[in-house]
Amino acid sequence: MKLKYFAWIAEIIDKREESLEIPSKIETVGQLIDYLSSIDEAYEKAFEKRKNIKFAVNQVLVNENELISKTDEVAFFPPMTGG
């Protein structure tokens, strides 16, 4: 699965993107966040304030219950502040 991180989330995780093998039991974005948080402290710290994180699957904003599959691009970022 292709994962992307932006803004302070990318800084904490210290990566802007990566490809990870995700266990097949991980079916939703919410479960993916829990899984990542369990494997490394950096993810845990980045995803700590869960309410402050938004996610997109294949460049579309979704909620935590969104289903994901191996071929998806999942992105994690803070609320947008462009413009």
């Binding site: 992307k4 932006f6 803004a7 460049q59 992105a75 803070p78 609320p79 947008m80 502040t81 413009g83």
Partner: protein, 148 residues
């Protein structure tokens, strides 16, 4: 409709020429330019961006604007990367027959772009770096549009 997500600076004159290309001949044009506001001691502004998603989201918002108002042309440029105080960030040019349409659409697109387009600003001072947080008033502005 032209949407450009880019690190490069834009030039209003050149963009207006492109906008007016193909005999643009409606009555009203509304333009908005957003720049890096020089705050006390601000050295740089880092704008992080998810370009593929930004392109999609801005297109969506522009399509919604098109469905709400009678618009002719829309041209949007949003920069990202490392900028200095007073550098250009965003340019929005909208043409329509009647002024109310392009003015409202301009405000609407900027309000949505601010909260839906995947850009994140970090202010860089000599002694600290601060990621800007989404502010309440921007979210309130969004809600107002839903009641119209």
């Amino acid at each position: 409709m032209h949407i450009n997500i880019t690190k490069d600076d834009f030039d209003l004159t050149r963009e207006m020429n492109r906008f007016n290309h193909n005999k643009y001949n409606y009555g009203a044009i509304s333009i908005f330019i957003g720049k890096v506001r020089p705050e006390n001691g601000l050295k740089k502004m880092q704008i992080d961006c998810y370009p593929e998603m930004a392109q999609k989201e801005i297109k969506n918002v522009a399509e919604i604007a098109r469905s709400r108002w009678t618009l002719d042309k829309i041209r949007i440029i949003h920069r990202y990367g490392l900028l200095k105080p007073n550098d250009n960030i965003v340019l929005l040019i909208i043409g329509s027959r009647h002024r109310a349409d392009c003015m409202s659409a301009n405000e609407f697109i900027m309000d949505f772009l601010k909260s839906l387009a995947p850009f994140w600003k970090k202010e860089i001072y000599s002694d600290k770096e601060i990621w800007i947080e989404q502010n309440e008033s921007d979210l309130k502005k969004l809600q107002q549009w839903e009641n119209i």
